[in-house]
């Protein structure tokens, strides 16, 4: 085995991992492996990723871009879906100088919830995103 590239720049959101694992074909006769995969899925279902859709992730990413957040910060915003100001301060370094934490918290919450409302009206089945790396 040879590692070709192992950098931190190919980040992937919890939502994408969850989608990948959910649509995975189970390998026969590999009980341990399948158990491991389902434990990862089990964990991810407890995170906000379980409720997200392609649109939510895209819009949140766009929102973070407008606020000039770094890649790592964007990833954490998507993964954790912060609802309180404390969390924003935790994720974004020097939040007060770089953005308006109160407004940003509301924006994030709005983005996350807006699509929840949409989901109830139009039932969309989202295919796994293959090339949607952050």
């Amino acid at each position: 085995m040879k590692i070709i590239s192992n950098k931190y720049d190919e980040l992937i959101t919890n939502y994408e991992v969850l989608n990948l694992l959910k649509h995975k074909r189970k390998i026969k006769g590999q009980a341990l492996l399948n158990e491991f995969v389902s434990s990862v899925v089990g964990y991810l279902e407890t995170t906000p990723a379980a409720k997200q859709t392609d649109e939510i992730v895209k819009e949140t990413k766009e929102l973070c871009k407008q606020n000039k957040l770094t890649k790592a910060e964007t990833l954490q915003i998507i993964n954790l879906a912060p609802t309180t100001e404390v969390e924003i301060h935790l994720i974004v370094e020097e939040a007060v100088e770089r953005l308006d934490p109160v407004a940003f918290t509301d924006d994030v919450r709005f983005t996350m919830e807006k699509d929840l409302n949409l989901q109830t009206t139009t039932t969309t089945t989202t295919p796994p995103t293959e090339n949607g790396n952050v």
């Binding site: 491991f36 434990s39 790592a72």
Partner: protein, 267 residues
Amino acid sequence: MFHLITIEDKVRIPPNQFNNEIQTIEDEIEKKYSNKVVIDGGLFIALYDILGTGDAYVYSGDGGSHLLVRCRLVVFKPFVGEILEGFIKKSTRDYMQLSLGFFDDIQVLALDLPTQSFYHDEEKLWYWDWNDNQLFFEDRGRVRFKIDTVEWNDAVSQPAPRPKSATPVNQMDASTLQEHNKRIKEEEEYLKNQKSPMVLKVSMRESGLGMVSWWTQAEGGEAADDDEQPPEDENNNDDDDLNGSHDNNENENENEEELDEDLTEDE
């Protein structure tokens, strides 16, 4: 939390799978890598995609074809400073062990708990002493933490294989039995001292970290979860504080922010 890593590896395809190449490659890669840690790489979760394959070679004496595959895998390797959520698995006097369900080697040392945290001897739990309120780190409670360091332990994870003895244990004579027991003991000792290949050292010293329920706002109604109730009756103060709201929380934030400022000044 997760990222992609590109690797190259040789895969053997048995003759009966020649019409089913891609699926075989996928399965072989998954079987080989899933749930394993590579030093500096991380914990492999699953195959993401196959980027390409080289030419297939057939060697003498083997009917299968061997080909070089370049693919991307999803690995779990949080970066330093990343915020994650997990649950408490074990609380001891020296440290608290956290788990993500699929990964258990996450440690918080007593030093890295929120300032002024103590160990409760009877409950065998840690608590944060905040304004004379005991906020407990409940067992199996959901916690938020920040990655401090990722430790890689480059060591053999399995003891050397034991030589197979012809006689079963109950038919051994005294000296071989003694030797046998000694060897088993040594192996157990060895495994006990063996560190897991990837250990995350995390901290909870900033505001917003610690039990998730401490920081959720009461207005959403989510904060009124059952698991927020203190586990015992003797701490009646806790009740007021936890169910009571938002003002308290804000005070708390202010306190913590002051604390943080102090800390940064010290630095």
